[in-house]
Amino acid sequence: MPPAVLRPPPVRAPGGGASSLRPAHAAAPCTVAPAPETLHPALWRAHQLVRPRDAALATGFAQLDAELPGGGWPRRVLTELLLPHPGVGEMRLLAPALATLAQAQRSVMLFDPPAALCGWALGQLGVDLQQLVVVHGREGSRGAALRHLLASADLLWALEQALKSGHVGAVLAWLPERLRADALRRLQLAAQAHDGPVFLLRGIDSRLKPSAAPLRLALHAGAPDELWVRLLKRRGPPLAQPLKLVLPPVLAPAQRARALAARVPVAAPPRVAVAQARDA
């Protein structure tokens, strides 16, 4: 074994970690320790957002971009979206990113979508149907009774193959809540070869279970054409406040105003979910 290179012992700044938060010129010139985040791109402090190596894919919502590490949907890692039921506005949330991919002529694969898709609606959202491939698990194409409980081995295999191939632009997979932790970990490893975002859409109940996905979002429809996004997990400091995103509208402004006026008694839906998450 070659002899280790001798280095002078690291100089510790007086006062420990607190001093390193001060600007560098405040410390004595001979004891300047470089900030950890400048040493290596994989290092960041708990109050900072991580800067991923691959450029993220802009979500199309400036408010959300600001809170996501890298400023958009991350590539090469899993992103979990947890929703109470299909149809809270998840496709409208993802549509700008998918439209960007469609422009770059990259394909989008959907695995086991929960219902039939309307091509016209996807077209209105800017998704290119020519680039869209839908893959169903083997047991019964749609509407299998057990599908939301257990992921079929075939579907996980197909998902892993798609991620490993690295030729797919974006992957959207509807996975059941009951999913083994090692299956998620496998997918996370496979996703490293995938140059694009991977969205796993699961039921809101799985937010209590640990997950290998570095980014987890809980989605909630607050009002018509509105989406509340709570960042359950990200590489960065926790975010207490949910984000309110205004989705591409279905309703005309007048209709929306009417809807808002009428729905006073059932306001503030996300609060219950937040309390449960904290307890866990």
Binding site: H85, R92, Q105, A116, L117, Q124, V135, R138, Q161, Q255
Partner: protein
Amino acid sequence: MLWIALHLPLLSLESFAATLGAAQQALPIALLDGKQLSAANRAARQLGVRPGLKRSTALALAPQLLFGQADAAREAQARLALAHAALEFTPSVSLHGAQGVLLEVQPSLRAFGGMARLLQRLQDSAAALAHTLRFATAPTAQGAALLAQWAREPQEIVGPHTTDLAALRRLLDGAPVSLLDAAREHCAVLQGMGLHTLAALRALPREGLARRFGEALLTELDRARGDSPDPREAVLLPETFESRLELFARADTAEQLLHGAQILLARLLAWARARQARVARFTLVMQHEPRHRGGDGTPGSTELEVALAEASNDAAHLQSLLRERLGRLPLPAPALELRLRCRDLVHRAAPNHELFPTRASEHEGLTHLLERLQARLGPAQVQRLQRVADHRPERATVWQPLDAATPVREPPAALPSLPKLTRPVWLLDTPQSLQEQRAQPLLEGRPLQLLAGPERIETGWWDGAPAARDYFVAQAQGGALVWVFRTRLPKSAAAEGWFLHGRFA
């Protein structure tokens, strides 16, 4: 003229080993010819088993010895595959004796960048067929064949190499007499006469030799030395490929079948490469055990057809497709014999490989991926959406199984800005009937608040599925938007009232 000779010293043993399962190949194996052993593999030889022993003697030495029968037809098929692999490099390939393949390569040297590279490429393409080979090159066909057979050391792969006729003659002078085919039967006599090398044989008067040992001996020697012409019959490529492999043991798992099919696929690819084409479709026929046939209605054979969206010459890709298909295939009975057939080749030039990922290479990779998915999940499970001009939402989108490789489309000129959405992304397969309370539809016990509508869709009276509905966008309990309709002029009580048809996602 410059000839490469390939000699397969272990052809009979290796062609037998190909019929064995993966686990059995490491066992000591010996081939029987009558009651005597004609060949033994390395594991058997380490136990002291030698060709020429009696069966009982060999069993006493190695009780676990696996016996096989030499089969000339099986060997011929294996050697023909090697000849096909050689046809990739030159059009004039011929067979020699029982274990030799000859290639005339003088016109191909320039195209393949010289002898050393050509030999290397030949070795690489023959590697998939898993044969032990010995190479030799010489200016005459017979001379090359003799040199390839002449193993001065048992493990030698590349034998003598000469491009010069004089050098070849000098080499042959030192070769043992027993190399000549015609001298085999007279070996003892020749040895008794003190004739050990070809030089000694040549020194004798020709008339006397011809009288005692026949013309064949002299002819062979003359051809080897380039003194007389040596016409060879070239191997012709068949238009369609068919190769069979009789398995030693019954195969009833996909892995066992795949193991046997591997060598057939290697032969198929050798044939396809020689035809300078890529495989578009092939059929694997599995012949079942005879006693399973007939009586209980099991078919005599099962056919598995594998069609490729994009023709390929990639052994790993074909194998993975076959593995997925075999994994799904229920076999009515164990298979005893495999046959591989191929008629469909694509003669287009192979797509270029790119150094950096591009759109074209991504498209190709995607096609391979989709083929793999279709092979395992079934072709109907991988779909594409297509829009149809129809007002009924359930008919406006069609699911199409993805078949052939779709062309890479040109990017749209400009992305349309997001218009107001008029249709929900999620459509229910069958509209869900909703309860009604005080003229308001209920979803999960809560009233839906109608926000937009009605949008009247009344169409389809001409094709037997008429729809007369008023659609509304409604707000559900949590603020999510749903798409509901009320039927107009219902035909029956079941079709009356409110229905949930979609969710705006």
